[in-house]
Assembly symmetry: C2
Homo-oligomer: 126 residues x 2
DNA sequence: CGATATACTTACAAAAATGTATGTACTTCC
DNA sequence: GGAAGTACATACATTTTTGTAAGTATATCG
């Protein structure tokens, strides 16, 4: 019997996901976490709670639109928690959920490694 | 004195990078490693040496074009080593460099975590 | 002999990501 | 009173990414 892609999809219903199969939801989650701004948002939030504008100031280059979009994505995946203090002018802050902290841990490790080795990398890059 | 972006760029020349500043080369490297196919290529190569076609079969959904592009990117960053056996029909294989293995370690951890927790994630996703 | 496999590249087209500008309702600082 | 800050949404334009199809030279398989 050859490997059936449908069987793989079933695997992740009861067991563990498989990022190598395109239909597996883990593939989508991976993309959200590793998206251009997703990584940075997670890394910063791993540091603490931030308000929207503060987060934006911290992450160089994000537009409001992208930050909002990224936060919503991560929130709907359950990695980020948004708290609206119901004040006016608006006061909202963002932090990581426990699940978010677990994921962020790996992202932070990756980012940290890159930052620490960037000299070696660029030194010998083609 | 307010934080000068130029000073930040200098920091990474002698010291450590800062992904949060847009001009820092570490930002680009991060994007290569976390690109849609970059993560998967690295994760698979962490497993061993592969020929182009084998890699493509392993990673569900990559087009030849994207795989080639991704591999070239990772090669020029020094994470992947390409070996052409100079035969015809062509025989080329890809593997990780020592630097690549270090980076891949974090990627594999992330991917592993997602695969292992995908049930919990999708269960409570909005 | 025709199909299949190998490792790509290139041109073209479609889709997705991202940026820019504007608006909202209200408050505080100068 | 005017400017700036707060947290976004929305429309529109542009840029970037990604996919598709075709082509290359040769060897092996049936």
């Amino acid at each position: 019997m050859s490997p059936d892609p449908h069987a793989q999809a079933m695997l992740n219903a009861l067991g563990r996901g498989d990022v190598l199969s395109p239909e597996c939801p883990s593939r989508a989650v991976l993309q959200h976490l590793t998206s251009r701004w997703g990584v940075l948002v997670m890394a910063v939030l791993a540091t603490g709670t931030y308000r929207f504008a503060a987060l934006r100031r911290r992450i160089g280059g994000v537009s409001e639109r992208m930050l909002a979009q990224t936060l919503q994505q991560l929130e709907s995946d359950g990695f980020v928690r948004r708290r609206d203090h119901g004040e006016v002018p608006p006061h909202v802050d963002y932090s990581l959920t426990p699940l978010g902290h677990e994921a962020a841990q790996h992202l932070v490790a990756l980012v940290g490694w890159i930052e620490g080795n960037i000299a070696a990398i660029t030194a010998r890059a083609a």
